[in-house]
């Protein structure tokens, strides 16, 4: 939520810029957006019609670049480097940060080896520095680095832009969560009713026993 608040203004700024420009001017704006150190979401920019119009033009590679930053990873860039513009250092850094977010989507425990392979990092020290300085300090990820087990335990990861097929599964998960919560509430209500009933029965039983004791005492006296 903090991330979203931080980048809300940036998104608005870039959306305005993109809406007011067309064609080749969009290329520089896209490069600026993908290099910005505080911006990790690009679907709003992608949704602007001017950007969509880049498809099939000489600047379509910038549209692909924006799509890569919205949904892709560093490995995807390496595979498709031929059809994408060269990245500057800031863009490389951002893409690697977004790669960490994508990896965190699939698993909460990320082994160092897997991370080093995905991020093209040669040693553990470099990887840990990257995770701490570029990911945790920028607030996109929170977690614990376990040097003994050589893994990164992710406690929180900021959300990336949604891919088209993701919405359905999200809705399904939310529905499951809702039904679990509803069932839990029903169970709790049933237990409350049961506890009340048992308490009433218990009181009734106690009263019967006390009455019987009084009767016996009277009989004895």
């Amino acid at each position: 939520m903090d991330i979203e608040q931080k980048q809300a203004d940036l998104i608005e700024h870039f959306v305005k810029q993109v809406s007011a420009n067309k064609g080749s001017f969009l290329a520089s704006i896209i490069i600026e957006a993908t290099s910005n150190p505080s911006l990790f979401a690009f679907s709003e920019i992608l949704a602007v019609s001017n950007v969509a119009e880049l498809q099939g033009t000489e600047h379509s590679m910038y549209l692909n670049l924006l799509r890569l930053f919205a949904h892709g990873t560093w490995s995807d860039y390496k595979i498709n480097a031929g059809s994408l513009p060269n990245l500057v250092a800031e863009q490389v850094l951002k893409l690697k940060q977004l790669t960490v977010l994508t990896l965190a989507e699939t698993s909460k425990v990320l082994p160092y080896d897997h991370l080093m392979q995905e991020l093209d990092v040669t040693n553990v020290r470099e990887l840990e520095d990257f995770l701490i300085n570029e990911c945790m300090y920028s607030g996109i990820v929170r977690g614990k680095l376990d040097q003994l087990r050589r893994c990164f335990e992710v406690q929180f990861a900021a959300g990336r832009d949604l891919r088209p097929a993701q919405l359905g599964s999200m809705i399904q998960t939310l529905t499951n969560w809702l039904s679990t919560s509803d069932n839990l509430l029903l169970t709790i209500q049933e237990k409350i009713k049961w506890a009340d009933t048992m308490s009433e029965l218990d009181k009734k039983h106690k009263k019967e026993v006390d009455d019987r004791v009084e009767d016996v005492k009277k009989t004895l006296s």
Binding site: M1, E4, A8, I11, A41, S43, E44, A47, A104, E105, K108, Q155, F156, A157, A158, G159, R160, D161, L162, Q166, L167, M170, T173, L174, W177
Partner: protein
């Protein structure tokens, strides 16, 4: 609203909160301990 969708996505990624064998062991042990305390209390009441 893309911002909301991203937040929801981030939230759903956190589920389940804990999922490990060790946690299950500790949780069940705590469960058993509490049930044992309850059992002992019933015996005491009797």
């Amino acid at each position: 609203e893309n911002s909301l969708l991203r937040q929801v996505s981030s939230l759903l990624r956190r589920l389940p909160a804990i999922e490990s064998g060790k946690f299950q062991d500790d949780f069940l042990m705590e469960y058993n301990d509490t049930l044992l305390v309850t059992y002992l209390a019933m015996l005491t009441n009797c």
